[in-house]
């Protein structure tokens, strides 16, 4: 069992009032809050160890390098990557996908090749592929979904062919909460010879991921959605794929030997980490992962399910509320619209009740187009949210409904 009160005490930001009411933070799909241990770790780096990595022989640089590389190992173990060479630090999910689209895509995609994505991708898993298609003459194909917000697996199977070179799929949709059957999708994609990129930006904080067991070619996620700092994320790629890929950016740290005639690139993972990285961020990311590990997915998964069910039942009984996304397999996201009240107005009204939700298209405009809504309101939950906070959400929604009655 998880002690929610104890967990809440780890997150300083939660303990404040807005407009005289206790903050209810339900925008976790946008970014999660940070526990004290992560804040302290980042602070410790700047106060005691700050220096550049992989460059100095002095003590501080050695300490910083050790902490940075220790994070790599922590993250490798967390996702069960085969080797820490497969763990590449980036600015986040967006940069990780752009890296793959640019480097792997540039080397492997040609005219009339097909890239398959799904209707529920975040813009960051749509636009880089569109850009690649534009450059190469490849074709972007989209797996459709049903009204519940589940992928159409028959359509998926029929869209796959030997022309399919890459499948890009979101593990958990940020707009709908849907958890996609990636294991089966990966197997089917591999059967036609496609490489698979899994967008784990939403999923990674909510469920265990074993990249080897799932046979994932490229896994991408962001630290800031897993209680870690902003501006840092990871690309986990199979070593053979990464070895064969050209560098993404050129600069310091990614080289072994530079002359004006030629440059010999550094080994993995450094080949893809040009320039001074977000050292504090990476070190904080490692601490965030240890924080999750200390609580354990054995505790997190059932607890978050209970809370989502609690919220879903209230949503079902709330007059004038329509849920957007009711997949059988979903987690932590309650996306909805309300009769006669635009989500943007809900966002403002709830904010004055100190309830923070997201209103908008959630960087998934095709999902909005599918449901023919301009936007949705989205409450998204995390390990520190409580039933009382769900009650506060619905009390605030009642207030909004009354205002527009």
């Amino acid at each position: 069992m998880m002690n929610i009160e104890r967990i809440r005490n780890d997150f300083p930001v939660l303990h404040q009032e807005l407009y005289g009411k206790p903050l209810v933070y339900l925008d976790n799909a946008a970014t999660t809050q940070k526990p004290q241990c992560v804040i302290d770790t980042v602070r410790h780096y700047y106060e005691r160890d700050n220096s550049n990595i992989h460059r100095g022989v002095h003590t501080l640089s050695e300490r910083a390098t050790a902490a940075y590389e220790a994070s790599r190992e922590t993250i490798r173990a967390f996702f069960n990557a085969k080797s820490s060479k497969e763990v590449i630090f980036t600015r986040g999910t967006t940069e990780s996908i752009n890296l793959v689209a640019s480097s792997w895509g540039g080397a492997n995609i040609g005219k009339d090749d097909e890239i398959l994505i799904t209707h529920m991708e975040h813009h960051s898993n749509i636009v880089p592929w569109q850009m690649l298609c534009k450059r190469t003459g490849a074709i972007l194909k989209v797996v459709p979904m049903n009204q519940a917000g589940e992928l159409d697996m028959d359509a998926f199977a029929s869209l796959l062919s030997e022309r399919t070179k890459l499948l890009g799929v979101v593990q958990m949709s940020n707009a709908l909460g849907t958890i996609n059957p990636i294991q089966s999708m990966i197997q089917q994609a591999h059967a036609v010879g496609a490489v698979v990129l899994v967008d784990g930006a939403q999923a990674a904080a909510h469920m265990p991921v074993d990249v080897q067991a799932l046979d994932i070619d490229f896994y991408v996620t962001s630290a800031h959605k897993m209680y870690g700092p902003t501006g840092v994320g990871v690309l986990i790629g199979k070593q053979a794929l990464l070895e064969a890929m050209p560098p993404y950016q050129g600069g310091g740290d990614m080289i072994l030997m530079v002359t004006f005639e030629t440059t010999q690139y550094n080994d993995l993972p450094h080949k893809f980490e040009a320039g001074t990285p977000n050292i504090a961020g990476v070190i904080g990311f490692g601490e965030a992962i240890r924080y999750i590990q200390a609580i354990g997915f054995d505790n997190i998964v059932p607890r978050e399910k209970v809370l989502l069910n609690y919220a879903t039942v209230q949503a079902q009984n709330f007059d004038g509320l329509k849920q957007i996304g009711v997949a059988k397999e979903k987690a932590c996201v309650l996306s909805f619209v309300m009769d006669g009240i635009h989500p943007h107005d809900l966002g403002t009204i709830l904010d004055r009740e100190a309830v923070a939700i997201r209103a908008g298209h959630h960087c998934a405009m095709p999902v909005m187009q599918f449901y023919k809504v301009p936007a949705t309101a989205r409450a998204s939950f995390s390990i520190y949210n409580t039933e009382a906070e769900v009650d506060a959400l619905f009390a605030a929604l009642t207030k909004a409904r009354d205002m527009f009655a």
């Binding site: 006669g340 943007h344 205002m403």
Partner: protein, 151 residues
């Protein structure tokens, strides 16, 4: 501090529920599309301007939050029958009101009923909702090919 009630005044709720001058205008000699990428508010304004540079008729269509809908509705009421130079004056006054300091009183003499939207300045993320329709009319008058954006 402004309260929610200052933003969502009854007039605004009324205009949200029953927007005035809603629909396509025919004939019309100026029109433009406005879009707020942050929240997906989308509206289209249609104007019929005569040779004396008077706005003979003006309507709007689209979907948006209550602030953008009410603002567009109130705007069409305010602009009907006005000259283009009067439009510019109202545009400036409205913009000033929406971005004014908290303590500044709106210029009710110029703005009239539009002053009910003064509350948006206390809600920074909502200012663009109120100003979108005005930018859209401006671009319609300039016959801009591009759809209007809130700066």
């Amino acid at each position: 501090m402004f309260s929610l009630g200052d933003l969502y005044q009854q007039v605004i709720i009324d205009h949200t529920k029953a927007p005035r001058n809603f629909g396509k205008l025919e004939p019309c000699n100026h029109d433009a599309e406005g879009y707020n990428p942050l929240c997906g508010d989308q509206l289209h304004v249609y104007l019929q301007v005569n040779d004396e540079q008077i706005i003979e008729d003006i309507t709007f269509e689209g979907q948006g939050c209550s602030i953008s809908t009410a603002s567009a509705s109130l705007m069409t009421e305010a602009l009907k029958g006005k000259s283009l130079s009067a439009f510019q004056g109202l545009f400036d006054a409205f913009h000033a009101m929406a971005t004014a300091d908290m303590d500044d009183k709106p210029n009710e003499e110029v703005l009239g009923k539009l002053a009910v939207l003064a509350g948006v300045k206390e809600f920074p993320s909502r200012i663009k909702c109120a100003t979108l329709c005005w930018h859209t009319v401006k671009s319609a008058m300039e016959n801009a090919a591009q759809s209007a954006r809130t700066e």
